[in-house]
Amino acid sequence: MQLVYLITAVALLVGLFILGIRAIAGPTVWDRILATNAIGTKTILFVTLLGYIAGRPEFIDMAIIYALVTFITTIAILKFAEKGRLD
């Protein structure tokens, strides 16, 4: 069963690097924000899988916090990119 977790984690990492290409090379700022948002979702899954690989599923608490932080970060960056200020 460890092998299944490892293969899934490697697939997520490959997806992360492919998304990183778009986050670096994206022509508009919206492409970068979209790729960063997708990277956040994949990181949540990766942290959860890491807990199962290490035999400690309690790592899910970190995934909950990361899910909330990623959403707020995306909305904050969007507001800044749209209006140029945060107030």
């Binding site: 899934t8 998304l19 022509p27 508009t28 979209l34 790729a35 948002n37 979702t41 949540i44 199962y52």
Partner: protein, 114 residues
Amino acid sequence: MAWNEIVCTIFLALGCVVTLTGSVGLVRMPDFYARLHTAGKTDSLAQLLILFGLVFVTPGPVDEIGGWLIRVKLLMVGMILIIAAPTATHAITKAAHLSGLKPWTKTDPGGEPK
């Protein structure tokens, strides 16, 4: 392998395929709105498949409340993400549309996508 590990393997394999499909689509699609299409849909589906698959292999007794804590937390992350991910995608779309980004069509005079 026990039956729950087989079910988990099927869900994780589907999640891998959907994840990689979305990542490749985000790089290869011609313009921003097409990329939004692949990224927004595959994100929601892949996280649901992987988190739901992991529920089956969580260690702990099934007949006690303590064994259900991790499973409920996994489904909680899934619920948070299934609300937050489409909302974020919608917000990105709205911000890009309001900023004046035009969708690319094949009949554009320029011809080349941005």
